[in-house]
Amino acid sequence: MSFESSRSEDKTKKKKRKTLASYSSKPHTKTLGMAWGSNSPSSSKSSTRKSPFANFGSYMEEKNRKLRDQFDADASSSSLGDLNGGKGLFHGVSIFIDGFTVPSSQELRGYMLKHGGRFENYFSRHRVTHIICSNLPDSKLRNLRAFSGGLPVVKPTWVLDSVAANRILNWVPYQPEQLLNETRKQQKLSAFFALKANSSSKDAEITLKDAETTLNFQVKLETESSLSKGNAVNDALLPEVGDSIESKSRSAEESACAGPPGHQTPCEVRIAESGSSDLEDEHSVREAFHSSPDRPSATVDSSCLNDKNMKERLDSRVLGRSNQQHSTLGDPNFVENYFKNSRLHFIGTWRSRYRKRFAHLNEVKHGNPKVNALPPSQGNTIIHVDMDCFFVSVILRSHLELLDKPVAVCHSDNPKGTAEISSANYPARDYGVRAGMFVRDAKARCPHLIIFPYNFEAYEEVADQFYNILHKHCKKVQAVSCDEALLDVTDLGGDDPEFVASKIRQEIFDATGCTASAGISGNPLMARLATRTAKPNGQCFIPFEKESKSIGAEVNWGVRLNDLKDSQDFLIKLCKEVSLRLQGCGMQGRTITLKVKKKRKGAMAPRKYMGCGDCENLSHSMTIPTATDDVDVLQRISKQLFGSFCIDVKEVRGIGLQISRLESATSARQGHEKKILRSWLASASENTGQLSRINCPAKEWSDGEVLLHEGQCGCNFTDHGKQHFCGNSGQLCIDGTASLHVNQSSGEAGLNKVLTLPPIRDLDVKVIESLPPEIISEMNEMYNGKLTDLMDKSKEKNDRKGSSLCTTSLQEFEESDSGARNEGKQPLHSSLVHQDNIPTKSEVKEIMVRGIQPASTSCSSYLHFTTKGAEQVDLMPTSLSQVDISVLQELPEELKADIIEVLPAHRTLDCCDDATVGFVKGIPHDIRRTNSSENSVAELDFDCKRNLWTGSPPKWVEKFKFSHCQILKILSELYYKSRSKGKLSSILQCAFSSFPLSLDLGGDNSDEALSSLSELLKQYIEIKIESDIEEIHICFCLLKRFSTKSMLLLQAYNIVIPHLQAYVGESYGGNLLLSCAHE
């Protein structure tokens, strides 16, 4: 386009042209409208016919020359050159504009015109001196030299600033940021000093600082060498220094063998480490250098002195900086402090410590090259053990109250600092805090991030314990790092490697208080990968020979479908077939691929009768998080996939369904659902066909599934995390007399599982109370909620009378319950109390409520909330949905009112808002009318729901996070992911494009979710109606489109639409047209 405008400028100007053979020698004006050569159409025609140019190259040459001529002509008319003493500001500068710039290329051209510079329309290495651009594509960045030909690449502001300053400024600071970042990554020394000169912060990148130290140290050595040798030398230091140099040279050799140059840095500095906390020490180092010329210190020396010129340059620079507190100049103990705080140093020195410590063991290892290399032969079993966020969790041992808070380890806690996070725990990682991130970035993502300094003694201690345990279990240990090792357990023979791994992890946890993850597989690589999936605090076993085949069924013959219903029926049958095949193989898969053969346009009738003929093959696939062989899941997904083809069913000639990413059905359960044994027990009931229900009279097994907490053999419940169920037979003993048997002979498909529940009266409440809340709630479910009754009753006995209103009302409640109904029916409530067993004396109690909803919805939810106060016990269910409505109706009016009044008082914490909504909506109308306090509840509810969009992140994000409605949860999660913060449309877009599957999870569409969602939408309309009707339009088009897939969205949409139209009518005098323009 650039030439176009230059063309338009031609309009008024007459130019001198050199005559070309076929060009008319008349002044040839190219005006826009009148096409070329309106003066002499015939000649122009002939000129195109017999092109004067031998080839494109000569054409371009001519064109460029002409453009330059035009430029000169323009320049002569508009140049300010004369004012500046004959030569323009940009004399000798010739720019080339690459891509879109602000100001535009035409404006820049104007500047060049004015100030005596040149402007090139086409890049030429010879004529261009500066390349101007704002952004560079990745390919050009990567291959900058090829693109720029070594010329300076600068931002357009360089031109502007130069004009403003009336001199040509140095272009270096005007390089595009992308370029600067690039060089920073490469860590060139020049970039480093450019950076250093600007920043006054101590926390430069560690490696850079290493380099600096080395150089600086070198500098000092040099300056001091001018001092006489006769200076006082601390003789006593000499041998020590000699030692250190020896060790240093040894490690230098090692690192030279190891290869990567990065290792050299810690080695080099090791001289300094023993050397130089003050001047005297440095003398001694120098002396050591001098006095031991025969020692191989030269290797180190030369690496420092590699580039003498460079060093000298740096020399002056380093010395030139005087105002930096943390630098080598400002702080006499710099080196000492530096190493005290260097994590890399710690890791670097750790290996030699480890060598020393486990020398006798390592001899075995080193003597055995097979282990050393850990070859991936078939029979091997490798366990990879890695501590979970080592640097943090070691520190958190002494700060248990911070376990679930975001914590990171770093040099400095300065929130603006550029210190790098070296390790962050998992809560912090949820905020996007990563190792290697600057503190200021981390704080930006997670403002309440707690930062601890390093504690190297503790790290050493834990690392030693860690390796002690590893060496105890296995002779062949390959240390990877202080918190990470590979074990070769091939020779261990009988022991199941998974068992070994879990034992090791348990011991590590017992000994150090820190968790570790383990991966087990046939070779180190796979083991590492397994660890990655196992983290945090888990273990994962990848079978050695992984079959990556798929199971599926395909029909390509005789497929003729008339309408959508036909296709659905066909899909259902196909899914059944595939599901049966999967079950036959004992496999489950995660990726579901639907292939469709579609008649090619204009294809003939197939030669084979009812064959598929000439077809296009289409396929779509979807991967789901957990492996499945369930026919319902397959049907749902395949329907969705089929829908996504958007083809006329009449043209379908074949359909195939394939399941890949297979996992064996048993290992899938162990691997993915280790937290909950629901499926495991379900399969048990499938397999054995019966569950013994001895001693469980009058128990309703709601859906044949029983929840049992994971637990490794015995009653080992100390671990709250995901502990791997190790597949051995486990026995959960409760009070000795009765027991829950969970038997699983590992590796067998037909499992013998016997499940026996002890009678509830045999349970010791004290034992149960000391169990973790998850277990209690799961057990409670097994007892159909009676367990909590039992616990509550025992509580009642012990509790002081009248501890709170809610307790008493609950008691009444309970009494009337038991009066009104038979024992053994569903209890009125199912909350249960759990005394937190984390060994801290904090007053925070965790009350865990397992909600059992009325039979109509199968969805149950966990709600966590905490209450302060040591003795106060909270026994009310959190929402009315947990209360049997029919019971409530039986109650006298006063009691009803009491209960309803008490309920919202519990939910002062905002995470329970949803429950409130559900509660208000959930009450049948007759109760509503009778309840006088209901209005106030609604008001309270209304108040806390106002302003869902205020704050950053807006309130609804937090609120929806705890919703048990899948869609709302996803929206909340996506708020953080979507790039344009706060725009609902982009969140919706993300949600619907990335989670198409979850849209038809029908079961969770409770009224509370609906009202939350519609309230959110209404408030959004209010905010945006005046300024951004486009955004609202997009949102509602999206909603409308996806309301076909989800009842919840449809309902919300229908509720909100009248509001929307009313608002639009008010502000714009019309109705919003919601035909899906986006489709």
Binding site: E4, L32, I1029, E1030, G1069, G1070, N1071, L1072, L1073
Partner: protein
Amino acid sequence: MERRGDHQSLHNQTPRILIEFLEVAINSIVFLKGLYPPGAFERRRYMNIVVQRARHPQLSDYIHSAVAGLQPFIQKGLVERVAVIFYNKEHIPAERFVFKLSVNLSYGSKVEETGLEFALRSFLIKLSVAEPLTKALPHDCSWEITAYVRSLPEEGNKETQLWIPTDTKQWQQPPLITPIKSMSSEPLCVQLYLEHPSQSEPTVPVGNDE
């Protein structure tokens, strides 16, 4: 459309940018509707994107003078909406492109011109692909630029006299709105949307004026 080199006061800057933008946008709309043959337009560059500008002197002059005449109104913050209305043979609006404007005149700090231009650019980009949102125009149609102002300025200088009160026919029913683009970049908030007659709109004028 040339940038004025002379230094304008901060106060005038935003209205000037807005006027300039409106002129370009209206050119684009007229091109988009295909009222005139494509040859009547030329490709130009504005804010670094390609736009179409009427080449016919009368056409481009009409747009230019109409919009330029808005400047005093805009400076006073009187203009609420500017509509480009396409009429059918009966002079009943068939389609309206409405710019809803709101200029924050009290905006104190320096206007970030680049940011503003960047936001306005997105209008022009969106406009160039908005064709599917619009309706095909009937055969003998006409169009005009209409401004909705909050009040008429009393003193009639030369520029304001370009604008005359109009008695454009209105729709009986509230129209259907299709947003095209919205932007809000201090001190300017511009929204562009389409208005079409609703389905229940009587096709024959009820005839309240003639």
